[in-house]
């Protein structure tokens, strides 16, 4: 009798739990948690690999070789998992970031998907590797592929940065348009000298234009990830620093424009 009640309760609750899990969206926050988890797993497997490797190099026995092989397989698998989780997190971050054109977003996400597929396939091939040398070749293959993956990742991060600045620029442009319309209304009323305000609005317009120029500069730098500068990891890192610096300048110009706007409003309401 007790067992029957338990079974009925389980049958009642299991579909509810399952339904709740399906409803939960796999968003960036969850993807990031998975990424952090895979990193922890990878760090642990890397430590095991280093220990097994040094023991094998010292002992040179079959047992040590087998242990080194197992540890290497785990480490390579975990490494692929980290890359897959990382790319997935970037993909979802791209989805959630506003200001990125749909065509651009779709294009970069397709390339990310391609990388994810490659590393999944690579991961499935690792366990079938026979010898330590095969595992070394397998690792080198992933390393070569990751050079391209890193370029795509840097491009995606640059697009995310550009999208944020574009959204901010759009907001300031909207505020500027609204203020300009109001200034025309005030001018037609003739009860307030708006000429100075209108001149200052032009200054804000210039700030927005210069911010756009900086964003275009950053976008052109992004293309260099696939050029000579992007061949080396250090070059890619330096290039990404240049890209983010250009976007930071673009954002600073928007900040200046907003400060001008605050000054204008202070005059109008003072």
């Amino acid at each position: 009798m007790k067992n029957a009640v338990f079974v009925i309760l389980v049958l009642l609750f299991v579909p509810t739990i399952a339904h709740a899990q399906v409803d939960e969206q796999y968003d960036y926050a969850r993807a990031y948690q998975d990424y952090v988890f895979t990193q922890d797993t990878y760090d642990s497997s890397l430590s095991d690999y280093r220990l097994a490797r040094s023991q094998y190099l010292q002992a040179q026995t079959l047992v040590a070789q087998t242990k080194a092989r197992d540890a290497t397989v785990k480490m390579l698998t975990a490494r692929d998992d980290v890359i897959i989780a990382y790319l997935t997190a970037i993909r979802l971050r791209l989805t959630e970031t506003e200001g990125i054109g749909e065509v651009t977003r779709t294009g970069i996400q397709e390339r990310i998907d391609s990388e994810v597929s490659w590393f999944r396939d690579h991961k499935s091939r690792i366990s079938s590797a026979g010898t330590l040398d095969d595992l070394v070749d397998d690792s080198d293959e992933a390393n070569d592929r990751f050079q391209e993956t890193e370029k795509i990742a840097y491009e995606a991060l640059s697009l995310i940065a550009g999208g944020k600045v574009d959204v901010l620029r759009g907001e300031l442009s909207s505020i500027l348009s609204q203020t300009r319309e109001k200034s025309f209304e005030i001018e037609s009323n003739g009860d307030y000298d708006i000429s100075v305000v209108q001149r200052w609005l032009e200054e804000i317009e210039q700030k927005i234009t210069r911010s756009l120029d900086k964003s275009i500069e950053a976008q052109s730098l992004t293309q260099e990830f696939y050029g000579k500068k992007g061949d080396k990891a250090s070059g890619r890192s330096d290039l990404f620093n240049d890209v983010t610096a250009a976007y930071s300048e673009a954002m600073q110009l928007l900040r200046d424009g907003n400060n001008f706007m605050k000054e204008i409003l202070k005059g109008l309401t003072g």
């Binding site: 990031y32 480490m75 330590l132 890193e150 940065a161 907001e171 109001k182 409003l265 109008l268």
Partner: protein, 171 residues
């Protein structure tokens, strides 16, 4: 006959000199001249010669003349104090009466409208200080500023992962 009384009188006057000086309040060396001398001769004619002899034997003392001691009558002081007290009491009564009158009229203090000093005029603000469109723009600017402050260009959590690529089994 004439000299005897004079001698007696000289002795008497010699003895009486200090008293005389006290009365006249004048030093003995001072020459007597003019009408004062005549008067003293008339009043005490035989005094002059023995006065010189007396000066030899008894040196006269210099005495500083005393200031006349002014005495204010006590009644006058009391009267003045009474007058001052009466004046203060009258003033207090006047103020109280004025306040009482103001309270009855419904006013508690001086009326600012009748003040002779002009009140400072405040400058009028912008006619668009409370304009709804301007306030809307102001809110948007504040929201935009908070967006600017919260935006991070770099995705610090999505940095390229640091991975071990140097996999080999050679010493």
């Amino acid at each position: 006959m004439d000299n005897q009384p004079n001698q007696n009188s000289q002795q008497d006057t010699a003895q009486q000199m200090p008293n005389l000086q006290d009365q006249t309040q004048q030093p003995t060396q001072r020459p007597i001249s003019g009408s004062q001398g005549v008067q003293s001769e008339q009043a005490t004619p035989p005094i002059q010669e023995p006065l010189q002899n007396a000066s030899v034997t008894n040196t006269p003392k210099m005495k500083i003349p005393k200031m006349p001691h002014l005495k204010i009558p006590r009644k006058a002081v009391i009267g003045a104090i009474v007058l001052v007290v009466i004046f203060i009491v009258l003033m207090v009564l006047l103020v109280v009466a004025q306040n009482f009158m103001n309270a009855n009229n419904g006013t508690t203090g001086p009326i600012s409208e009748n003040s002779p000093t002009p009140t400072p005029t405040t400058t009028l603000g912008s006619p668009y200080a409370d304009d709804p469109d301007i306030l809307d723009i102001k809110n948007k600017v504040e929201e935009f500023e908070s967006s600017l402050n919260s935006t991070r260009i770099r995705e610090d959590t999505l940095r390229i992962p640091v991975l071990e690529w140097d996999v080999n089994f050679e010493n």
